[in-house]
Subunit: 317 residues, 2 copies
Amino acid sequence: MASRPVSGAGDGLAVAIDLGGTQIRAALIDRRATILARAHQLTRADAGPEIVIGQIAELWATVCEGTNRSNILGIGVSSPGPLDTREGIALGIPTLAGFEDFPLKAALSEKLSMPVMLENDGISAGIGEWRYGAGKGLSDIVYVTVSTGIGGGVIIGNRVLRGRRGMAGHIGHMSFVRGGELCACGNRGCFEAYASATAFTRRAVNAATPLGNHGRAIDAAAVFASAAGGDALAISLVQEEAEYLGQGFASLLHLYDPDMLIMGGGLSNQFDMLQGAILSSLKASAMPAFRGTPVVRAILGANSGLIGAASLVLDGP
Amino acid sequence: MASRPVSGAGDGLAVAIDLGGTQIRAALIDRRATILARAHQLTRADAGPEIVIGQIAELWATVCEGTNRSNILGIGVSSPGPLDTREGIALGIPTLAGFEDFPLKAALSEKLSMPVMLENDGISAGIGEWRYGAGKGLSDIVYVTVSTGIGGGVIIGNRVLRGRRGMAGHIGHMSFVRGGELCACGNRGCFEAYASATAFTRRAVNAATPLGNHGRAIDAAAVFASAAGGDALAISLVQEEAEYLGQGFASLLHLYDPDMLIMGGGLSNQFDMLQGAILSSLKASAMPAFRGTPVVRAILGANSGLIGAASLVLDGP
């Protein structure tokens, strides 16, 4: 989205933070989901919460520069889980040292003297796509982010599905293959361990001969490019990935019965190549009454989490 | 529950129908979930909707006998799915001939000249346990019925999770073992195909030698009795069943983050023997933040669906 002049005093703005294990992204966002300013830093992931909170404060100052602070209604933070968002506690973020039972919401609120809304990253992105993206106007959506891991956000009856402590929708950790591949969560056979971009790339690396790839590093984009070029191995890898996704998506339709399933995350950049095989696999796995549910690509791209986090401040939970 | 005198005129009563492939049960129920009268018939499952609706009408007349009809606020029907409960349509009930795209709600409402609430049987039972059973007072529960099949009802934030057409919570049909056992739904590897009482009994029959069972038929109760008596094979079958249940329940905690998971259905009669191994399996499969969620047995027994269906009339959706 292009920059535009800062809105008038009455409109209200939010600062959104997308806290990740690799980078922290910040944006100043208005009520039309327009991103007015952006900044980012590489996350000092090993440095502990105090340093990371200092980084967020710097980013906050950067994106707010030149804006009347009284227009800023609060800060929305999208963070990896597991989080107890009812209490504002990070329970143990695997990619950030020291975020075990850490009162992230209270610490940020104190540091910035601002109301803070804290949300699981999958749910934030789901809220963004629901309110401003592919799911706009629908009452029931399942958003699935397929990236390093698999996360999600579920909206049912125009309400965000949060569960007891705000930890519902851990879609990546539904059991998928009993006793199967080890997952990053410690369990075996999770959906994430089969259908994430990480799993896809691992299969590609295991399948490819070093010579066959002409010495280039194998990443997801390279496999899709080879498939587009007609390479049989790459095509079969893409087909396998789509089959896993379709089977997992079928489970999600059975579990949540949404109007639409929205796929986001890095792998959704290849949605056009995956879509046909995802739908075939989904139709083979879903009960007849669920087969017609549309599966679409997210439209806010890498901004869905930021826009969702801002929306928590501007539009409410 | 014991019979008690019919409540006063101002209280309001509901007739609940539990429509099953084997029998149709009916009850007259008051606002305290007391069952005032009961009746049942064997379902004429092959006879088509008109005959089955006639059976429901007969049962309705039986349980209402001697009650002032003006006290009866409506009829709540718990039915096997898939149902589009928003439109009141049976989409295709596998155990009842002719219930394909059949307007069950409208047909009953016309036949009985009464408001009809139609609900999926798993959701009805979940509502019963939430409002009057093990989940009373909680805002977030997952109810799982483990019987011939596996069904469920999910309450999130004090609201029943229904999804777009009222078909959410098809817990039995989440993918559990990719490409595994054939399920009654036509798909392979569903949770139901591994953890239902039907699957448990099938494994027992396959594992037992005809002589070893002294010529008696093998059913679930017989296996549990043998396990209680120290039979090693029966103990291992019970252990395996509990492992499947615990793994599936872990997925459900990840997907819905409830305050409590409630197990009902026929196999919950053996909950005491399953509980320890279910919890061990769940703890091995669930992410740490989810491991403390209590797993308990339903307390309304075979009445949870009837009480839930009545509650839809008396307490609202």
